[in-house]
């Protein structure tokens, strides 16, 4: 069985990888300098020219990019090519006000799909396999990424998209899917649904699952593996860098190999921005080495994690990243959707509520529960129950519109939300994901 999708790259000696990175980086710096005035200005402010960047050891000199830069330059400000050369757009799930949009040339799509193909082969995928993709299709990168990767490997691809679990199960059984790709919470849900319908784990033909786009735990991995009768693999990525496939797990499952020939990874101190030594916990930063349309350099992911450069027994030589241990900002990932507490505050103020609220996140049957406690204000109060409930429903739907995901609203009496040392506790995350 083929163990690697692109063995010459995936198992290349470290010196070779470094050589590829240096070569691509120099080219990329010139590409960005010539085509992205926004980043060129940032470089000029630091007194840098492309000549200052000769190897990846010089990357630390470059300015960072963050989600704020993406929003400020929305939609075309970080575009590295003519729009006529772009073939696709993807967008992040629910962010404040403006969404982040990412552009792709055909070359960018190809390298992204290669990355996903590597992940599928690492999970045991071959052209004999039937890959059921139940990530959402559309602006979200999950569906397209794994779909494209599956094509590259030559698997029979089932573009299911997410939802309609009954149909997912029917196709899984009738068409004998062998690999499933979706969010871990949806995998857990499918597992439970199978059980409810009286299926045993050995009744399906699945052998592996590739799960990502939201945080999940080892316990959850075991549960999914048990309920579906598969081996579950983790995959990492973000729209800003392309999508899923930036890093993926091999059969060793001791960290995710970062596709270093396309993405250069650094770990920095989130407060000072300094690059941290090998093995430190810090914020993960990516530089896209050869993406054309959306060539982000030193993009701060806000994910906290550790890199591991020790050789892996799978034979891959690419650095491994641990599962992210948390965030360096206040972003929450709820059922795969990015949510900032500030968005909730905005909705409350828009709807005439006081910004006294508390978000409580928990897990029930492996799916995130999302509750928002809101202090009722004199403006909302009425002696009529129907009136209050109508406003509660209105708030719920305004939240859904803003966030792309609907919390359950609970109205509570004024001044009852827990405050510690005068400061309200805004988020209680009981999911124990890290």
């Amino acid at each position: 069985m083929k163990r690697y999708y692109q063995p010459e790259i995936e198992t290349a000696p470290r010196e070779k990888i470094l050589e590829i990175q240096n070569e691509k980086l120099v080219k990329q710096i010139h590409h960005v300098w010539d085509n992205v005035p926004y980043y060129r200005h940032l470089m000029e402010e630091k007194g840098l020219t492309p000549d200052d960047i000769k190897t990846v050891d010089d990357i630390h000199k470059l300015p960072f990019l963050s989600k704020a830069d993406l929003r400020d330059t929305y939609p075309y400000g970080l575009l590295g090519t003519d729009l006529k050369d772009c073939v696709r757009i993807h967008s992040t799930s629910g962010t404040t006000g403006k969404r982040v949009v990412a552009f792709y040339t055909q070359h960018d799509i190809d390298l992204w799909e290669d990355c996903c193909a590597r992940a599928i082969v690492a999970a045991g995928g071959t052209e004999e396999d039937v890959v059921q993709v139940c990530y959402g299709y559309g602006l979200f990168t999950g569906g397209s990424g794994l779909h494209g990767g599956s094509h590259k490997v030559g698997c029979l691809t089932l573009p299911m998209s997410s939802g309609n679990t009954e149909r997912q199960i029917q196709f899984m059984m009738d068409l004998e899917s062998t690999i499933i790709c979706c969010t871990p919470s949806y995998a857990a849900y499918i597992g439970e649904s199978l059980k409810e319908q009286g299926f045993k784990p050995e009744d399906n033909k699945l052998k592996a699952g590739i799960f990502g786009a939201e945080p999940w735990t080892e316990e959850m991995r075991h549960e999914i593996e048990k309920s579906l009768g598969i081996k579950a693999y983790d995959i990492y990525g973000l729209t800003e860098t392309s999508g899923p496939g930036v890093a993926f797990e091999c059969e060793e499952q001791k960290g995710m190999h970062i596709n270093e020939d396309h993405f250069y990874a650094e770990i920095i101190d989130p407060d000072t921005g300094e690059v941290l030594p090998e093995g430190s916990v810090g914020e993960l930063v990516f530089t896209a080495l050869d993406k054309e349309a959306f060539p982000l350099l030193r993009y701060r992911t806000r994910d906290l994690c550790v890199l591991n450069r020790t050789p892996c027994s799978c034979g891959r030589t690419h650095v491994r990243m641990a599962k992210p241990m948390g965030r360096s900002d206040d972003m929450l990932i709820i059922r795969g959707v990015n949510v900032f507490p500030s968005q909730i505050e905005t909705v409350l103020l828009n709807e005439g509520y006081t910004p006294n609220y508390q978000i409580v996140l928990d897990r029930e049957r492996n799916t995130d529960t999302f509750d928002v406690y809101v202090e009722v204000s004199p403006d909302q109060f009425s002696d009529l129950m129907g009136q209050i409930q109508k406003m509660e429903k209105g708030l719920e739907s305004a939240m859904r519109t803003m966030l792309g995901i609907g919390p359950k609203i609970h109205l509570v009496a004024p001044k009852t939300i827990t405050r510690s040392e005068g400061k309200a506790v805004r988020v209680i995350d009981k999911r124990k994901l890290h």
Partner: protein, 141 residues
């Protein structure tokens, strides 16, 4: 006319009601009539008290509450007594949001508290139909 009801927002959890009642009781306030409406997370305590002003002070800024004008109609404590009251309102197409009733101290005396949007019209209508309605003064509030 009309009488004043206090509507208090309470959490739907043990201890919430007793705390509010204790506060009123400590201030010597008598609750003449009450009802509670409940939702999942909270409830609304609706009370008619012996001293509205003092009750408002007691509830102060510790509770979220509002004053609501409601109709209190006097009726006899016997079968069929509610019927003419409802008939009068129904014929005038007046919608009842909620209501609760309590018996009085006199023989065959009962009261029904009715929450409608237009208290004045409802009272005039009831009075025109020979039904007595109470005021804060007549309840000695």
């Amino acid at each position: 006319m009309a009488i004043t009801q206090l509507s208090v927002f309470l959490m739907n959890q043990p201890g919430a009601l007793i705390e509010a009642i204790q506060a009123l009781s400590d201030a010597g306030i008598n609750i003449r009539a009450m009802s509670i409406a409940e939702a999942n997370d909270f409830g609304i305590l609706r009370i008619i008290v012996s001293d509205t002003d003092t009750a408002c002070k007691v509830l102060g800024d510790k509770y979220l509450f509002s004053k609501t004008e409601v109709v209190a109609a006097l009726m006899s404590d016997r079968s069929g007594a509610l019927y003419p009251i409802l008939t009068a309102l129904n014929e005038a197409n007046i919608n009842i949001e909620y209501m609760y009733a309590f018996t009085g101290s006199g023989p065959e005396e009962a009261y029904v508290v009715i929450r409608v949007n237009d208290v004045k019209t409802a009272e005039e209508l009831l009075n025109a139909n020979g039904i007595r309605t109470l005021s804060d003064e007549s309840l000695k509030i």
